[in-house]
Symmetry: C2
Subunit: 615 residues, 2 copies
């Protein structure tokens, strides 16, 4: 199975969406050739995805499909939503096929696709738990969003896999299964007396229903996505009985289970891209403001509460964060859709912040824990890595957009059919110098993102300086000639960042950042001090450092910290102010490493927020 | 049913324990006549305990006994350990009978006792869940402490109720049921091949088995308590599979479920009081040091972790504390036993800190939430209030001890038979002046606790000053004459207390304390400022204040705080240091109320740790 030249491997096809102004570049059209992402993508294609397939075999997730297809007689295995692990894997594998990959992957994909097709029931239904003796329990716990058997959630993940399969391979096999199942769902759910009323506790299906509409132009899929939004109360999987659940258009704060919330918001953004309903955009803006102004970790993580995996109150960002990887990935998906609507750089800033500081930590988790009972995150990371080239560039009317700086090239096709090739040379994220070669003649505007953190950024086209503003796109409108070269310099001084005073766990502390990277202290780097005792003096000079035994060119930071003597506190937990004497300080060398690199060495404490004052 | 003059209403009878040096005063012998505790005890006797009885009827907890007795045919209701609610209620009611009480309470006690007696099975077994069709499941999940059906836990609470019933009413009815059940347990559990090996996941039975030994002098009960300690791994109900579970004598840190941990420690202290085994005391000391030096909230609360209701790592004391009321009560029980061993004032300090700053907050919870599904805390508070007089004084060899300063009197009998009456006049805890009248002729030592916080304490006997040291007992040895009068003055300046620098949530903050009381800010007292924005300047004068509309003579605190303008942070969650300008401060009047009084007015935020620096 090879890609056909005419395959349109875009993740979300906004090319005919009346309210989107940017169109994602096909995954296949962007080739990454950098030292940060591409090695991870190679490992994803060569190691992670094949080994995840084996796990799906080992855990019985694939056998569930054989059981539903009638080719294997055995009990259902795993959690009720284990089908979604197979679908996320298939989606990841399909996007991986868009670039050079191990030959065996084609076979795994086609075998899995055949297995799924065989498991579809004669009436179009597809969920391996609710078959055989459980057939009568289909859709039984669907409500206005509070209950949760994940049937529509699994359907949504299947649709996303089917769309990826269709767009990368050109085959209609999975898409046909998907539309048959989608038709069954559209027949089943709706406002009519003869239909079931309600939706899944876990949003997910909204995004791919809109995408099925984009592929098929069948309006019922878009209407169905809208119905599922209209009928829902809250943002999904709310366990807190005291929370008042409002319809989507009446929400003013992001809340509930974080993955649910961003999946739902992404789906609503997809619907808005088609319908342009102002009430939806108004609510999306409120949720976005609330999330980014009060409920986002400095690492881009969201969903601070353990237990219910949910958002919390405004400024409730405890250091012991939940911040599920799936929520970060869902947030990237949401931000990419918002970016397509507007071309506003603030959405790309969130994508970058999240990509560099969030899901990669779960890769570390993944290493420590080969698989999870609820294994939602590992295949979700796999699909994000596989999709990643699709988030780098966009095109628009007489315009090309660069959102992320990653060494490699992109062969873009503008809506008017002109080809533009962009080539990036850079050591980003460790260095802010970027050389872009533009190969595409004629007049168009090249939009280059200037990250909000890049104070003092400089840009020159063929040596001619252009003024830029951090937090916006530099819009370079000219008649481009082959060989045009852009040089950008994004200064990467080490920044000391403070949190809003209401973030209790960050009071009196700073987070160190350099470029898009957030740094942390790991205990393993401080053999002579407990990292909880380390303070960063205001006048300390923090310097970048590359000679550590860290892989992949990782830039660490170093500074001379202070460490307060604890002798005055021997055997006391509380002291009155009058008992406290001046505390002798000793100097201690401190190393900070990028947060994404956390937990790849010996286990130990980690902290992001470093106290600035001696205590 | 009236109290008989010869009833020995002590909680824990150390009078023949070879390794205890203090003996608790009988509950009946101490009469409280203060404005702080006695009104709460009156409400406990007149309102709480009758209404809790009604709840036990409404929830089916009493019907479970009728079902087990064969007088009611119905399913078991409530949680598997709901019997313990009945027992804790009965214990609370029995201790309440030791002082003037509503007449109806005698009937409730005798009816409940009869109901329990009727529910005992012919072989002595008593647990209303494991009867009828569940009889074969008795003891099925007993192990080395990890599993948990609460059978021995419930037995322990029954024994405590039976002991209270016996000691206050003089009746043998419940004690006979208890010894029959205890004999059955001793026959069932032990090291012999014919016996079951193991113990309950939830410690509790160890304390009353030791007490049954003290009453009956039957050594098998003490040996059984010791067996249950010897066979256990960890401190009970450990849900964290990664924690290594050690036998008790090998523990060096307090850990696991906090209620379990302190109940177990209290039981071990009871055993040590009888056996004097050095290894037990050595471990108890280590656990105590670890708990008080690293794992106790400034309010005396313990068990910081939500979810598993457990202790955490050293210095893991997040502001959003779990700190279950039952754990605080269990800690009082443990400290009272340690105090009996040694007469070391540090244990009495913990008791006072806990009594004034901890369980009373659950009274507020109780008001807000009429009953809990797992209603372990409300009857536990009821029994603590009923027992409270028993914690005020002790006697020893030619000695009387005063641990707590509460207006009232105590009619003590020294071991040599001499009667001593102590009368306290004081407005403690709001005022530190205490007048003690001693009526008891002859030579003995009167030990008066000088709280560790009472710097500058003064004491005079008949006007003659005596030097004292905070954190110890002043030992007044003389030949006392009727009419001798002691005047103590415990200065109550307002103290600013800081926590060990490793307590992250207290960094840069102080807790206000006055006397034994910890204070907090409640949002309802600050209509013009969010209490999260308030700062306590180093030079602010904090003054006591009694004119607030607060009941019971509560002393509030006032100071002029600062409130940082948030205008610089509009719509930003993170800022680099270089973006921050000088922040305009405004002055704001601030009121702090005692922590125990929290949540008796409008709902709202509360905080104990007040930031000292502007941010």
């Amino acid at each position: 199975m090879q890609n056909t030249p005419d395959t349109l491997s875009v993740i979300s096809d906004f090319s005919r969406s009346p309210h989107a102004h940017l169109h994602q570049a096909p995954v296949q059209s962007v080739r990454l050739a950098d030292a940060f992402w591409q090695p991870r993508r190679d490992a994803n294609a060569g190691i992670t995805i094949p080994s995840q397939f084996q796990h799906l075999e080992d855990t019985g997730a694939l056998d569930n499909f054989r059981r539903a297809a009638g080719t294997k007689d055995m009990p259902f295995q795993g959690m009720v939503f284990s089908d979604s692990d197979v679908y996320k894997w298939l989606e990841a594998a399909c996007w991986t096929l868009a670039h050079p990959h191990p030959d065996t992957l084609d076979t795994l994909v086609s075998d899995t696709a055949a297995l799924i097709a065989a498991a579809q029931q004669p009436d179009g239904y597809l969920h391996t738990y609710f078959v055989l003796d459980k057939t009568s329990e289909r859709w039984a716990t669907i409500s206005r969003g509070a209950n949760n058997q994940h049937e529509l959630y699994c359907a949504g993940h299947f649709f996303q896999a089917a769309i990826a399969h269709h767009r990368v391979t050109g085959s209609a096999q999975m898409l046909d299964v998907a539309t048959r199942f989608a038709d069954r769902i559209c027949d089943t759910f709706g406002p009519a007396d003869t239909q079931r009323h309600g939706t899944d506790g876990h949003p997910e299906i909204e995004m791919p229903l809109a995408e099925l509409y984009r592929i098929t132009q069948n309006p019922r899929y878009l209407a169905q996505a809208q119905y599922f939004v209209d009928v829902r109360l809250g943002m999904g999987r709310i366990n807190d009985a005291e929370q008042t659940l409002l319809p989507f258009r009446e929400l003013s704060r992001i809340g509930g289970h974080a993955v649910c919330a961003v999946y739902l918001a992404a789906g609503v953004t997809d619907i808005y891209a088609e319908t342009g309903e102002p009430a939806l955009k108004h609510t999306l803006d409120k949720l976005w403001d609330n999330m980014t102004e009060t409920q986002t970790y400095v690492t881009g993580g969201i969903g601070s509460r353990w237990g219910v995996e949910s958002f919390g109150d405004d400024y409730e960002l405890p250091a012991h964060a939940y911040a599920e990887t799936c929520a970060a990935i869902g947030n990237v998906m949401w931000q990419a859709r918002l970016l397509a609507l507007s071309g506003d750089a603030k959405y790309a800033d969130v994508i970058e912040q999240t990509l560099y500081n969030n899901p990669l930590t779960a890769k570390a988790d993944y290493r420590r824990q080969p698989w999870f009972g609820c294994a939602c995150c590992p295949p979700n990371i796999a699909r994000l890595l596989a999709q990643l080239p699709g988030y780098v560039c966009s095109v628009g009317e007489r315009a090309a957009w660069v959102h992320l700086y990653i060494q490699g090239d992109a062969e873009l096709v503008l809506p008017d059919g002109r080809a533009v090739t962009l080539t990036q040379q850079t050591r980003y994220p460790y260095d802010g110098d970027i050389t872009l070669s533009v190969d595409g003649a004629g007049p168009f505007t090249l939009h280059l993102r200037i990250p909000a953190w890049a104070e003092g950024a400089q840009l020159a086209v063929n040596g001619q300086p252009v003024a830029v503003t951090p937090g916006t796109y530099a819009a370079l409108s000219r008649t481009w000639q082959p060989g045009d070269t852009i040089f950008m310099s994004l200064p990467m001084p080490i920044r000391r960042v403070r949190a809003h005073p209401r973030v209790a766990d960050a009071a009196g502390r700073v987070a160190l950042q350099r470029g898009p990277l957030v740094y942390c202290l790991e205990q393993t780097d401080s053999p002579n001090a407990d990292i909880r005792d380390i303070r960063l003096p205001d006048n300390a000079v923090v310097t970048p450092h590359t000679s550590l035994a860290l892989p992949g060119g990782i830039v660490a930071l170093e500074f001379s910290g202070t460490q307060a003597s604890r002798s005055d506190w021997a055997h006391t937990l509380y002291q009155t102010d009058t008992m406290r004497r001046s505390i002798p300080q000793t100097s201690v060398p401190v190393v900070a490493v990028p947060y994404f690199a956390w937990a790849n060495r010996e286990p130990g404490r980690m902290l992001v927020w470093i106290p600035t004052e001696s205590a």
